[in-house]
């Protein structure tokens, strides 16, 4: 086993957790990410392979589907982002590639991004000061692309929490925005 120690996107050994007012903002470094793009004309083949292997019906625009270990969200026409625990799926891109084979292009995205989980009552109040997404109108199990303080992010709504997935190199700026805006809420 290799002996290099990982750091989180915020450059620390351990994940950062901030409790700000009614919100808990947690960095989640235990994530593997991969992107999947169907080869030209192979959307149905990709969808079929994922359905067979993982039992997941690939989501359409704005959609996000979670089943067992995997979460898929739509990121563009014929394109999806896939998330799984890093501990159990450190080589997620390889796993997906083995499922879709030549029907899809799979790229490792694990460390291209940072993830923050946001929990708390009335998350709408927080996100209306962060991004232009109509968050009150965002149903559970949806994902969208937006800008948070000039940083391009994915925003995902789950049952009791939101996930912000942003570019890893800007994790510090993104984290500051989340925490400071949360602190400014009434």
């Amino acid at each position: 086993m290799f002996d290099l120690k990982p750091t989180t996107a915020l450059g620390e050994e351990n994940a950062r957790i901030d409790v700000v007012g009614a919100f808990t903002i947690s960095e989640n470094p235990n994530c593997s990410l991969a992107s999947l793009a169907a080869r030209k004309g192979q959307e149905a083949v990709v969808a079929g392979a994922i359905e067979v292997a993982l039992g997941i019906d690939l989501p359409g625009p704005g959609g996000c589907v979670t089943k067992d270990d995997h979460r898929f969200w739509w990121s563009g026409p014929g394109q999806w982002m896939i998330e799984a625990d890093h501990d159990t799926h450190p080589l997620l891109a390889q796993e997906i590639k083995e499922i879709v084979r030549d029907a899809g292009a799979v790229t490792e995205q694990t460390d291209g991004w940072c993830l923050f989980d946001i929990e708390g009552a009335n998350p709408e109040a927080l996100f209306e000061r962060l991004c232009a997404v109509d968050v009150p109108d965002m149903s559970i199990g949806t994902a969208t692309r937006t800008n948070i303080h000039h940083i391009g992010c994915f925003l995902i709504r789950e049952e009791a929490r939101f996930n912000v997935v942003g570019p890893r190199s800007s994790a510090g700026s993104l984290h500051s925005a989340l925490v400071e805006v949360a602190a400014g809420l009434p």
């Binding site: 086993m1 290799f2 002996d3 290099l4 120690k5 990982p6 750091t7 989180t8 996107a9 450059g11 470094p29 992107s35 793009a37 080869r39 030209k40 004309g41 394109q79 292009a105 790229t107 490792e108 995205q109 694990t110 460390d111 291209g112 991004w113 209306e128 000061r129 991004c131 232009a132 997404v133 109509d134 009150p136 109108d137 303080h149 000039h150 940083i151 570019p167 890893r168 190199s169 800007s170 994790a171 510090g172 700026s173 993104l174 500051s176 925005a177 400071e180 805006v181 602190a183 400014g184 009434p186």
Partner: protein, 982 residues
């Protein structure tokens, strides 16, 4: 009790608030504005006018206020030009008047008024013409000082400002009777409603009137509606929120003053929020603004708008004086007289310009009369009235309530260049046909001047707006309101006045408008610029229509023929801090940090911004006293042994698909189709016009998989262009793209000992020998006992070099490991400065050379543009204009003697004139080469390839610098490339 405090109103008489104005202590009440509290304390004089420094007092009771501008708060929170009429009083408030030299009462610059004939409209343009040099250094600073408004403290604003985004079906702008009826109609229908109100209380004019609704006070109805709205989850009530702009697609800008009513915001809380409101429909219920009548000396403190005087009496329980005359051309002015009388204020007369003026009890109505002058140095003491019979009468009073009619509040309806139309019955402009998409107007804002009309209009327009969205709304029950008389006869200004003010804020008089006409500035837009009518913080809200009316009268045209100027956002001034939001200081833009950032900080690295990235520029050691010392060491150590540089910032784009190679053949000017798996190739990208725009490498990992690298600055641009090519130019190709820039931490390991260092961390089953992994190889390997990594044998420095990439989370640890393992070689980290020096020594082009004007031929890479295939820009790169014999060519430049090569300098022949006509080229990059021990550079020189060994003059006339340089190959070191291939 304060001298002018009345009974009743909407203030809390039992809640005193202490504040200061110009250092003097006063007491107000909870619910007061600064203006109402000052009036209650008998303070009429609140400021000095812009140009003539004439004494001025409050005119209005709203955000349209032109005169009562103060500097609010102190230190970093000091805010100039704040309207006393909109400042909610808070304990400890401190305000100062502005635009005077000396005290407010004795302003030395009041002398300007004596020289008024010299300061007429357009005086700037006619005076200060000579001597020309005096304008910038003497005249302009003097004028600015004399004609300024408030000042700033030059301290940092300690407060934070937020931005936010809201969405709704219906945005209701204004919470007067029309707005409240609309919001309730839509709210009950279940629509998502936002109702934004500038005031801190809902109700609009209902707060200022004694008019009953359903037999009870108007505020009772307001309270009932507000309570129901507050109970609806689908309705958001936003008081203290001014909608300042109507933009495309139903988007409105609004400023919420979250903490302005407090001495200071609560810790961490924003002072203001700039909201962007996405509305499906918007209903403007912004009411109307009263206009003054222009008459001689109508600007003295105490001369106010009648509706404002009424508002101060009814809502704020105060009066500007115990004796107020009314001057009106309409029935609404009479309401002010009646309400003041009911409050016990003396109204010596109602001066009505109409011969058929209505009768009034408790005061004398002077029908067909006009005020022809006022007296009183720092505030009105009497008015001189010309009666209908031609006689004059002087009436002592301390205030004049003036009503020239009401102008619908048009701003938001015209922000997309819509033009209002003239409504003759109310003698005012009303919103025209071209409203912003999705917008409608109700209430006084559309000329419905009575409360019953406003209520009905608000409800109906809300139903119409929702119907367009497929939402059915029902009529709400409206309160019964007594009929109101709103008769008006147009009357704009009293004839014969010498100085009758139209625009108080800009000191524009009737005479100035006449002068503009006389001098040919007759179009309304010229009138505005020549006289400054309608400019500055109030944007002529009380002045514009009167100014147009006077111009119309002079030209003999009608007012609608005369037209209006353009309305632009913002509706009221918005502070820069609010527009900036949290994007200030260090958070002005997001910061991108490299994987080794923390480690570099620990080493004391000096960082440089490259786009949003922070990159280590150099790594100074304690013994080094100058950055050049550090950079020289980093270069020499790298060239002598080994150095490591974080190159994560270079763009990395994953290109996959059956047509990936064919696609890259289109993207790059040189060929890629035949690049072998496991190999890397340098590539040049051209713009469609044939100019070079980015370079980098593409590594082939599989038949259908490449990784393209770009320059740091162009990573986004190249990705965007690739997507455009994929989606629009070559949609038939099977290509998939995605950025992986941040997913991999990538380090350049360069120098003769680079392989030895790598061999210490690369797992032994990977053969790094020159034979097994030669120059321009790439491969997927493992390091440190199994960590997956990518290795590229490429070199920017000109040395034996590799770029090693690992998943970013291991980037910090890898850098530390490389430093530890490299100790035996004396490894050095190097920053962007050393990187730059080494690439100049090697003759590699960067953005300074690929600068948007240069071609592949200019760069000495003309032959790279393949003629065997078609690629973006290749055809246009063959234009004759880009391929002349004496075209610029990239060359190396070596300083002769102790000279210094300077980037940006131009090259001239050794003998001959130094001018643009004889320009031979220019220097793009320069550095001190510790290897060559002299100053060197790269540059473009006409026919450069054939001028090796020539000596040129390098001139920089701007800085008065000159040096002698020798033209040499751009490859200062190892031109054969032997070091790369060992």
């Amino acid at each position: 009790m304060s001298v002018n405090r009345l009974q009743g109103g909407l203030i809390d008489h039992n809640a005193p608030i202490n504040f200061t104005f110009n250092g003097q202590n006063y007491e107000g009440r909870q619910g007061d504005t600064l203006a109402s509290a000052l009036l209650a304390n008998g303070v009429r004089l609140m400021g000095r006018s812009f140009k003539y420094h004439r004494p001025r007092g409050v005119v209005t009771a709203g955000s349209e206020e032109p005169n009562a501008l103060v500097m609010l708060r102190e230190g970093g929170r000091q805010e100039p030009n704040t309207r006393a009429t909109t400042i909610e009083l808070f304990d400890g408030l401190s305000a100062k008047s502005q635009n005077h030299m000396g005290s407010l009462k004795y302003d030395f610059l009041g002398i300007n008024d004596r020289f008024a004939p010299f300061f007429a409209a357009g005086f700037y343009y006619k005076t200060f013409m000579w001597p020309k040099a005096f304008w910038e250094k003497l005249y302009e600073p003097l004028i600015r000082r004399a004609a300024g408004l408030g000042s700033i403290s030059f301290e940092d604003d300690p407060d934070v400002y937020d931005k936010g985004f809201l969405h709704c079906d219906l945005l209701v702008i204004g919470a007067g009777p029309a707005g409240l009826a609309a919001a309730l109609t839509a709210g009950r229908a279940g629509a998502r409603v936002i109702i934004a109100e500038e005031d801190f209380l809902l109700g609009g004019r209902l707060l200022a009137e004694t008019q009953e609704l359903d037999g009870a006070a108007g505020i009772d109805w307001v309270a009932k509606i507000q309570a129901e709205l507050a109970s609806l989850d689908n309705v958001r009530i936003m008081p203290r929120t001014t909608v300042v702009g109507a933009y495309d697609h139903g988007i409105y800008g609004a400023v919420e003053r979250v903490s302005d009513h407090l001495a200071a915001p609560q810790p961490g809380k924003p002072r203001q929020i700039f909201w962007r409101i996405y509305s499906k429909r918007a209903l403007v219920c912004a009411g109307a603004i009263e206009r003054p009548i222009a008459f001689e000396n109508n600007d003295r403190p105490g001369v106010m708008l009648a509706g404002a005087v009424r508002a101060y009496a009814n809502r704020w329980a105060t009066t500007p004086d115990q004796s107020v005359v009314v001057f009106t051309n309409n029935d609404d002015g009479h309401r002010t007289a009646a309400d003041l009388l009911a409050k016990g204020v003396s109204v010596p007369a109602v001066i009505d310009t109409r011969l058929n003026a209505p009768f009034a009890t408790g005061t004398e109505v002077l029908a067909g009369a006009q005020i022809i002058d006022t007296k009183g140095k720092l505030g009105v003491k009497s008015v001189t009235v010309k009666l209908a019979n031609g006689k004059t009468r002087v009436i002592p009073c301390g205030a004049v309530a003036v009503s020239g009619g009401w102008n619908p509040n048009l701003g938001l309806t015209c922000h997309q260049r819509g033009r209002p139309v003239w409504d003759n019955p109310i003698h005012a402009f009303v919103p025209g046909g071209a409203l912003p998409v999705g917008q409608s107007v109700a209430g006084a804002a559309c000329g419905d001047m009575t409360t019953s009309q406003a209520l009905m209009g608000g409800g109906q327009r809300a139903m119409d707006a929702l119907a367009a969205l497929g939402i059915t709304a029902k009529e709400i029950e409206l309160p019964q309101v007594a009929e109101e008389s709103r008769n008006i006869t147009a009357f704009w200004h009293v004839q014969g006045a010498k100085r009758a003010w139209i625009d108080f804020q800009n000191d524009v008089t009737v005479k100035d408008v006449k002068l503009a006409h006389q001098e040919g500035f007759r179009s309304v837009e010229h009138l505005k610029r020549y006289t400054t009518l309608g400019m500055a913080t109030d944007q002529g809200k009380t002045a514009n229509v009167t100014g147009l009316a006077v111009m119309a009268e002079i030209t003999g045209k009608s007012i609608p023929e005369t037209g209006t100027t353009i309305f632009r956002p913002p509706y009221v001034p918005v502070s820069m801090g609010t527009l900036a939001g949290r994007s200030v200081g260090a958070e002005f833009h997001p910061v991108r940090k490299t994987p080794s950032h923390k480690w570099a900080e620990e080493q004391g690295a000096v960082f440089v911004e490259t786009g949003n990235w922070l990159r280590a520029q150099y790594f100074p050691r304690k013994c080094e006293s100058h950055w050049r010392e550090t950079v020289d060491r980093e270069v020499l150590t790298t060239r002598g042994s080994v150095g490591v540089c974080d190159v994560t910032t270079l763009g990395k784009i994953d290109v996959q698909g059956a047509d990936a190679a064919a696609f890259l053949n289109k993207i790059y000017a040189n060929g890629f189709a035949k690049l072998a798996i496991g190999k890397v190739r340098y590539g040049l990208m051209l713009r469609e016009d044939g100019i070079a725009y980015d370079d980098g490498t593409a590594a082939r990992f599989a038949e259908d998989h490449f990784v393209v690298t770009t320059t740091t600055a162009n990573a986004v641009l190249v990705y965007r262009n690739l997507e455009f090519a994929r989606q629009c130019l070559f949609p038939e190709m099977d290509v998939q793209l995605i950025s992986t820039t941040e997913a991999w931490a990538q380090y350049a390991i360069a120098g003769p000992n680079a392989r030895k260092l790598l061999q210490k961390i690369v797992d032994p089953d990977h053969d790094l020998s020159n034979e097994a992994f030669p120059f321009m190889s790439c491969g997927e390997i493992t390091i440190c006992s199994g960590l997956r990594a990518r290795l590229f044998r490429i070199s920017f420095s000109g040395e034996l070099a590799y770029e090693l990439a690992v998943p970013t989370r291991y980037g910090d640890a890898l850098m530390r490991r490389l430093m530890t393992e490299g100790e035996e070689f004396g490894v050095t980290p190097y920053g962007t400065e050393a990187l730059g020096v080494m690439r100049i020594e090697k003759g590699h082009a960067v953005a300074a050379e690929i600068n948007g004007t240069t071609t592949a031929a200019n760069l000495g890479m003309g032959r790279m543009v393949s003629k065997k295939k078609d690629s973006i820009g290749s055809t246009l790169s063959e234009r004759s204009g880009l391929n002349g014999d004496d075209d610029l060519r990239l060359v190396g430049l070596k300083a002769v003697g102790d000279g210094v090569v300077t980037a940006g300098a131009h090259l001239m022949n050794a003998n001959g004139p130094v001018d643009a006509k004889h320009d031979q080229g220019y220097v793009t990059s320069a550095a001190y080469s510790p290897v060559l021990e002299r100053s060197i550079g790269l540059g473009f020189l006409k026919d450069g390839a054939n001028r090796m060994g020539e000596t040129l003059r390098m001139v920089n006339p701007l800085e008065g610098k000159e040096a002698t340089v020798e033209v040499v190959s751009a490859h200062f070191i190892d031109p054969e490339g032997g070091r790369l291939r060992v």
